[in-house]
Symmetry: C2
Subunit: 256 residues, 2 copies
């Protein structure tokens, strides 16, 4: 049973997971980061040691959780001392087998967006678990279940498609929020007035499918309004092109 | 003081506003629609009469609220019988002066997305009020305040930019949800797994500016992941182009 955990990394995912695991009663043994300042900030919250030389990590943790950029996963996994513990990454896109030279491998992917300075309840977050064996799967499942009631077995390919869909519903959605903000800022209007609409847009699709929830000038193929909107965007050529691109996809989907 | 209201139209906006105004203790006198079936459905809820000949509307209401497509506003306003009441539309994009031949004109624009069969609390919705006189403004402000605690004076041009921004944060965001759903459906994955992420994405920007909340491969200029995502989209050419377009805007915004 996983009781002792080493966290590799000191970014947003490392912060949120180590805090959650610590609160769930598990022991965070060490936090590794080349940046001792960052690891120390987390370590203080979770009563852990820090380590800035990965090859000197204690080898007797039950779980080594890699909370690092995707491209470092293979390299870093090779440097973790030989261990009987589980080595798992938290990436949406990276295959489980990018973890090298360890017997017990896993994926522990929280399908959520984490920011510094923003507390977030872990209990509803989907945790996608993949493992090199039934034993590892059971261990990771049990650990994730301490954090969340939404733990699922998800194979690499499925997880990668979840990650791709997440780019649309999180990264791209957030960019639409930025565009809305930019449009209003330029007219000295406060962004706050959009917040109830943003909230309702997200809430609505819990009960109404997004295909049915679609409204607006493109859905109605209301060319007059769309032309006016583009004119209003003035010299924001990129936003005009974006407006055109998405509107045309909506028109095509609903009017052909 | 506005006490008696005639509703012109029988769509989602008409439904939500007449229900709200009725609950607030105002009298819905008549609901006009060329489709008597639709107006009857609302009329039953709000103890109102129905009317399917606009020229026969009773002229003694205090407010005639146009809840109809933008392109009909001028034409319909011309057909409303001569009245001392206020004639107001509920459109985001239409100038107040598209209401013709009435002395007391106004705009009563709820900045929200309304769907059939989805109840929504009006109390936080921003109501944007514009009026042809101080008298009309005060009357409309007071009426909107019965529904919401978020009533604002907004001139035509500002309202049009709010409407444009709303297209980005509602219509376009919803289209991103559709894209996410399509991607998962094709892999037999349930869309529900994205709901916590969608909810957090919307909640986050109440406290974190969308510029700071941006995450993901484009933000990091992680070309490997972006190339892989596009490959995963297979023959969905339009989604690949959309992925490219938005990713490039994010890359440009955060990496140049």
């Amino acid at each position: 049973m996983i009781k002792r955990i080493t966290i590799i990394g000191a970014g947003n995912v490392a912060t949120h997971l180590s805090t959650g695991l610590h609160k769930a009663g598990l022991t965070i043994v060490e936090i590794y980061s080349p940046d001792s300042g960052k690891s120390a900030t987390i370590a203080e919250k979770v009563s852990s040691k820090v380590c800035n030389d990965i090859e000197k990590l204690s080898p007797d943790s039950d779980l080594y959780l890699l909370c690092i950029p995707d491209r470092f996963i293979t390299e870093v996994s090779l440097k973790i001392p030989r261990t009987d513990g589980i080595v798992a990454h938290t990436s949406g896109i990276t295959p489980i087998n990018n973890i090298k030279s360890h017997k017990n491998k896993g994926v522990f992917y929280p399908l959520q967006t984490f920011s510094a300075n923003r507390k977030i309840a872990l209990k509803n977050i989907p945790f996608c678990i993949e493992a090199s064996s039934e034993y590892v799967y059971d261990e990771l499942f049990r650990t994730a279940s301490l954090l969340s009631s939404n733990v699922k077995k998800v194979e690499t390919e499925q997880r990668q498609y979840l990650h791709l869909a997440a780019v649309f519903v999180n990264n791209f959605v957030n960019f639409m929020y930025s565009a809305g903000k930019e449009i209003l800022n330029d007219k000295n209007l406060s962004y706050d007035i959009l917040l109830p609409l943003i909230e309702e847009t997200a809430k609505k699709i819990k009960t109404v499918s997004p295909d049915k929830a679609q409204t607006g000038p493109a859905k109605r193929n209301d060319i007059t309004t769309m032309e006016m909107h583009k004119k209003m965007l003035g010299n924001k050529i990129e936003l005009i092109e974006l407006y055109d691109k998405i509107s045309n996809l909506i028109i095509k989907k609903y009017n052909e």
